[in-house]
Symmetry: C2
Subunit: 492 residues, 2 copies
């Protein structure tokens, strides 16, 4: 078991050890029943005092993550009879536990696709709202005209035609682009990963919003980054706090979702967009601008991306392409300039030699077409109706003490519970009723807040959405009125 | 510019510095005209003696990679008028040069897709030999029956049906598999990358064959691994040397291509397959068995994969799926067991949340079908004809002093020149005649041998193959008979 600690971080060492173990348990990387090193061995391994190690283990035990057995040792707490059920054959793999890995956290994958009937966890668009039939016909025509698309590799940088169309399209949203500075990625997740693997190494400082997109946390933690966080208010990242952090730590990367922030829905003001760029310029940092929901606005159009005012190549701009169109194709784009771009392209070659040509060609006819504009317009209307439904249900049924932010775009709604109520507990109850959502704790890179939930209103149809939100309100109602802090384990 | 040196490696520090700079130049990561740090600064940065730094720079200058200008400094050598042509706007990105990266090498991408008319560089199959029309009809039928494939994410681990078919198919080649221990990747390149990012960190020892697949070198170098190499003879990796290395260094990973080794074509004997597994078990190492050409044999079937005799989860088995079928889909699979598998799955989530569903479903009807068996049979015949053509031309036209290995399968042929002749020089001449191949130097992880070439006979039709090989023979003929060592720069 490898635990990374950052001696220059603002968080105490015992809290870092606690968090590292919680992250590994929640990511399924430390399995139930597994024996942990003794406090003595741990303190020696990490070069920390015995007191620090003891403090971390005490908190873990108190919070129900681990359990100590007199004379036997400390173990990851078993909730089901998992160990007894363990098949005999598995024991022949036990030697593998001594193989150290570099994977401290992988939480997002566990909430990305979930089997529950009412899925408010996945930030995805209801397939019924997507132009499947149209794309199917286009793909048929394309492949019957040119079946060799199936038998050829695309360029590592991405299909030229797609990059051309994408450059035109980005220009229309105010982002100056040429086909030469666009890189096609396998979704935005890969875009974040490419930047991290190229520019972030152990101890490099990365600034993130808190809360933020959990998939990005997983990636930066995997590179051993020192993550510092800046809170988000209704106008986006708190620039005053960012400025202070940057003065002190000179981060290498600032990761932000300025438009319909995930998970809070906040929109960064134009003023703050200018300020964040000024800061990045003054300390020679890179900004990752993750912009998946640019087209999904319910009121007025959001301000132009930060990338639109970036003249010196500080912003690496990420835009999902297939998410609101054809998620089965998994295409995103990255736009950057100069040697930063060249290095990201080299990293893409090392990663997978380029995204599949078939998926790129499949969405090509749609990009930048009038049909795409119309589709986005319809999508805005349909999603706005769902958001409004959720807001109405919340205001009707949610008990006192619970608050939420009204999102003006995007797919998510951020709900805050009374601070004593743990979203992970609520999730256990919800799952019993075939309902799931994203517990807010997954969205915090460093010090986790447990009393939030992210509810995505985009994936379920209105009927299931109605059922899900009502169920959620009922669960919260009964938990808050009973005011009993559950003693069950806070993870799942 | 970041240079990694490994103090425990067998290679001298000055050679490591030399190699690191050559790799970055050949990967396009250090651009022409760029100023390098002075020897004084470099020796300080790396904590090496001034003599070591001077020695590395002297060799680089002697070999034509860099140039020193009295009173000005040391620069990457300019071959074209690149610097003068540099557009003014680029200067606003100059600050980016101070952004350190973790990308020491990315050579393979530069040879993967090349614009030359006669491409003997790419290990790809001629699109004319692939079942494009059949797949096109299958895709059409699948999408018209179920267009929602376009609008859904697949499982992170990969489509269940594909994993089921693949498990059956692997069983037929002697690899015991279940759908649960198969992970679908975006090509084998991503499979290698997933293992590296999960299990390899700075200073971890990785053993590779020398020569080997350049794309794997790029990946392990990117993780800061200490790479040790074992030569390959006609029976595959030299196990006696591997045993010695392992006794001394206990590598974490052994990367091997036992069947139709890339680039030499060697096939590891069954005895050595058993020995390599014994060694891995005795030192608790992981083996990556990269097996892209299993079906492309020209004589008798190769021995069963090492994975077939692995009972304790030491082997991570990689098989390209789409390479000989539909490269436009970019699908590979990885088979592993136990916690090693679970951790690779978590890494896949962090990387890209799963490969696209469309490409997975597109090849599904073909996998494990009678049609696939027939296709592979035809492919073997067609590629054998091309290999024979090349062998015939080589024995007719190749000058004395050049030798080659007859491959019994796979797509590549390994040619060795007189040791004074640099394959990179030959490539410069070849490109003038619209011909390209892979210079052997790209295939060496540590100490590069420059007097080899890899020629792929699978991508060009017979006419162009004829033209290309004849041209190559002529170039070598004139270079060897003139016996003039060219004074042009050895890179490109």
């Amino acid at each position: 078991m490898q635990i990374e600690i950052q001696r220059n971080a603002d968080v105490s060492l015992s809290k870092q050890i606690y968090q590292s173990i919680v992250d590994r348990i929640r990511s399924g990387l430390l399995q139930e029943g597994l024996q942990l090193p003794s406090v003595r061995i741990l303190s020696k391994q990490l070069g920390v005092s015995l007191v620090t190690a003891v403090k971390a283990y005490q908190q873990l035990e108190q919070d129900g993550f681990i359990t100590s057995v007199q004379g036997k040792g400390t173990f990851v707490k078993v909730k089901r009879k998992a160990v007894e059920e363990r098949k005999e054959e598995i024991f022949s793999y036990d030697w593998q536990l001594s193989v150290q890995d570099y994977l401290p956290r992988s939480q997002f994958g566990r909430f990305h696709l979930v089997p529950e009937k009412i899925n408010l966890s996945s930030s995805m668009v209801d397939p019924g709202l997507l132009p499947n039939r149209y794309l199917e016909r286009e793909i048929h025509q394309m492949l019957s005209e040119n079946p060799r698309i199936l038998s050829q590799y695309g360029e590592i940088q991405g299909d030229t035609h797609l990059r051309k169309e994408m450059a035109e399209y980005l220009k229309s949203s105010g982002v100056p682009s040429t086909p030469e500075n666009i890189l096609v990625t396998s979704g935005s997740q890969q875009g974040i990963d490419l930047v991290a693997r190229t520019f972030v190494g152990p101890g490099d400082v990365v600034v993130m919003e808190a809360p933020t997109y959990p998939g990005a946390i997983d990636v930066f933690r995997g590179r051993g980054a020192t993550i510092l966080t800046v809170p988000v208010d209704k106008d986006g990242m708190r620039i005053d706090i960012l400025q202070n952090l940057c003065d002190k730590h000179k981060p290498k990367i600032i990761y932000t979702i300025p438009t319909f922030h995930n998970p809070t829905g906040a929109v960064m003001t134009l003023k703050r967009r200018r300020q964040i760029l000024d800061i990045a310029q003054s300390i020679q940092s890179l900004i990752i601008e993750d912009d998946p929901w640019n087209e999904i606005y319910f009121g007025k159009k959001p301000p132009a991306p930060i990338k639109s005012i970036d003249h010196n190549g500080h912003v690496i701009y990420l835009r999902g392409l297939s998410k609101t169109l054809a998620p089965g194709c998994r295409i995103g784009i990255l736009s950057a300039s100069g040697s930063v771009f060249n290095r990201l392209l080299a990293a893409k070659a090392n990663t997978d030699l380029g995204s599949p040509l078939l998926t790129q060609k499949s969405i090509l006819p749609f990009i930048n077409s009038k049909r795409m504009m119309d589709h986005h317009k319809k999508l805005r209307t349909a999603l706005r109706i769902r958001r409004d439904l959720v807001l109405e249900l919340l205001s009707q049924h949610m008990p006192d003490g619970v608050s939420w932010v009204i999102p003006e775009g995007g797919l998510n709604l951020w709900i805050s519970l009374p601070s004593w109520l743990d979203g992970n507990h609520v999730l256990i109850e919800a799952k019993k009723q075939q309902l799931t959502f994203l517990p807010g704790s997954a969205c915090y890179p460093v010090e986790q807040e447990n009393h939030h939930l992210r509810v995505s209103y985009s994936y379920m149809n209105e009927q299931l959405l109605h059922q899900g939100v009502t169920t959620l309100c009922n669960i919260l109602h009964s938990q808050i009125t009973s005011k009993t802090v559950h003693d069950c384990s806070p993870y799942f």
